[in-house]
């Protein structure tokens, strides 16, 4: 097939007039590239009604900012799809959302300490009520930064603000992950110089050791129900992926490898785990099914991602896509591929790595050359949310 094709192309080059007169076969035609139309974001019109009470005016002003930041709404004065009103006294906020027909969608009172905190929760509740997907105002990101001299775990919001240092271990802490409700962080701490996995409950403030086994333990990932952790442990004499139950402190091995497995991530159904495994030819992606109780059958298979060096996979919140780090040439790139099969798209090359999905699946955060970026997957625009904050690595968004 190649011979005649080259011959025909050569003929067309020599006699271009023949080529113009004769209709070209379909396989020779160049794909017609359409100019992409600008992406129209689905925006619902919201009118902010009266906010009574002592802090009502400042609450209304802050709420306009929150809802505008979310990019889900268009704040308008006429013909609104939704009308929001309420009251605020001494930091407490009551919100009341009504649709265009005048039907009450919800009316709730928020009494957390701090007006801003209450408004963020109200903003996320409005987004969830209208779009059915979680808002990002209360979501958090964890990452590792070396700005203090050692690698430590930090926490920030989706805009890169409110940065808090979570760990202060002498030899550092790495590989953090947030629980689905955002109430706990699991990470690897180098306490006494050896890696152990710890869970920090941010509501209660206590910290406990999940695994302190010989060898290395790292790469913890919370299950969608927040009750289990998938992680890598090597006390068996080889690194393997384990699933540990946080209530019973029992662990089961789900990988069967002689290589170097890393970075497990849960499917939102809680029944599959994707991880990278290097069996001697560079890291590839594997999917393991979690064996259920009284069922011994579980499958472990290679998921063909299309690249020979793939790490840090993470399922999208709907489970239909996987974002991962691939090495293309000498640099790493962030790639999204449809799951279980489909096309793959390079989101960002030139050293971007460790992607993590936003809870609504519309954004992706990743680290590139020590900077934390948030990438809008609808508009393909990205924003550096944290720059010059040491070398930022391993970002993870709340699931």
């Amino acid at each position: 097939m190649t011979g005649p094709r080259i011959l025909l192309i050569a003929l067309l080059l020599i006699f271009p007039s023949v080529g113009l007169a004769a209709p070209l076969p379909s396989w020779l035609k160049l794909p017609f590239v359409k100019k992409q139309a600008p992406v129209k974001l689905p925006q619902r019109k919201v009118r902010l009604g009266e906010f009574t009470g002592g802090t009502g005016a400042s609450a209304k002003k802050a709420l306009v900012e929150e809802l505008t930041d979310s990019r889900e709404f268009l704040i308008t004065e006429d013909q609104a799809d939704y009308v929001l009103s309420g009251s605020s006294v001494g930091g407490r906020v009551t919100g009341r959302l009504v649709n265009a027909e005048g039907r009450l969608l919800f009316e709730r009172t928020y009494a957390s300490p701090g007006l801003d905190e209450n408004l963020r929760i109200l903003s996320d509740d409005i987004i969830f009520e209208v779009t059915g997907k979680p808002g990002l105002a209360t979501s958090r990101m964890v990452f590792v930064s070396d700005r203090s001299g050692t690698k430590q775990v930090y926490l920030c919001d989706a805009q890169g603000r409110d940065v808090q240092q979570v760990t202060r271990h002498a030899h550092g802490a790495v590989s953090p992950t947030l629980s689905p409700d955002g109430g706990a962080i699991a990470y690897t701490a180098y306490i006494s110089g050896f890696p152990i996995v710890q869970v920090l409950d941010m509501g209660l403030g206590w910290e406990r050791t999940v695994t302190d086994t010989p060898g290395s333990s790292f790469g913890a990932a919370f299950s969608p129900d927040g009750q289990r952790l998938a992680l890598v442990m090597s006390f068996l004499g080889n690194p393997e992926i384990f699933v540990t139950d946080l209530n019973t402190n029992t662990a089961g091995c789900i990988s069967d490898t002689v290589g170097a497995p890393s970075s497990p991530s849960w499917h939102p159904d809680g029944k599959q785990i994707i991880f990278a495994d290097d069996r001697g030819r560079g890291p590839r992606l594997y999917v393991a099914e979690i064996p259920e109780k009284d069922h011994n059958e579980a499958r472990l298979y290679l998921w063909r991602a299309g690249y020979s060096f793939c790490t840090d996979p993470e399922f999208s919140p709907d489970g239909k896509k996987v974002a991962f780090t691939a090495r293309i040439g000498k640099e790493t790139a962030v790639v999204i591929k449809e799951y279980p099969q489909g096309q793959s798209i390079v989101i960002q090359g030139e050293g971007a790595q460790h992607p993590s999905w936003s809870p609504n699946g519309r954004y992706l955060c990743y680290a590139q050359h020590g900077t934390l970026y948030v990438h809008d997957l609808r508009t393909s625009q990205r924003r550096a949310v944290l720059t010059q904050y040491g070398t930022v690595s391993e970002p993870r968004w709340m699931r």
């Binding site: 060898g215 004499g237 690194p239 170097a260 970075s263 840090d312």
Partner: protein, 151 residues
């Protein structure tokens, strides 16, 4: 001619037999020994530990031992038999690897070294492994090496 046919028949029979290993088969898994307790071992993070031998360098993403590695380990195993010290085998990677993969790869390399030392006669209880990836930078090594520290 008969002899030739007999030889061909025997060869065909042997090749069809499943017990004969195929030259294209993947390498069998090494026998692995579970790690013993870590109590009493000192970490190179924060402690100034002496390397027991020159650092073993690994290229790319390989975790297979080379002839040069085995030569160093043979000498170390012979040395071990005199005093029977304990060793911590620590793996490191350069900073251009993804972090989690770097930890796993460095641990796997350390385990490969440990396995080779066990095969050369060092008792498993005296060997402990750890994979730092590039978490110990900038004070630790910043290349793809496995360092054996004497405790």
């Amino acid at each position: 001619m008969r002899l030739f046919l007999l030889a061909v028949g025997v060869m065909t029979g042997l090749c069809s037999c499943t017990s004969v290993p195929s030259p294209f088969q993947e390498r069998e898994a090494d026998i692995v020994f579970a790690l013993g307790a870590r109590e009493g071992f000192k970490s190179p993070m924060g402690n100034s530990l002496k390397p027991a031998c020159p650092a073993l360098e690994f290229l790319g993403t390989s975790f297979a031992l080379t002839g040069a590695h085995r030569k160093v380990l043979t000498e170390l195993a012979a040395e071990w038999k005199q005093e029977k010290p304990r060793y911590l085998i620590a793996g490191y990677t350069p900073p251009n690897f993804p972090e989690d993969y770097a930890r796993s790869l460095s641990e796997r390399r350390a385990q490969a070294v440990r396995q080779a030392m066990i095969e050369k006669g060092v008792e498993a209880v005296n060997l402990q492994t750890v994979g730092f990836g590039h978490d110990s930078a900038p004070s630790g090594p910043t290349t793809g090496v496995v360092v054996i520290y004497k405790q």
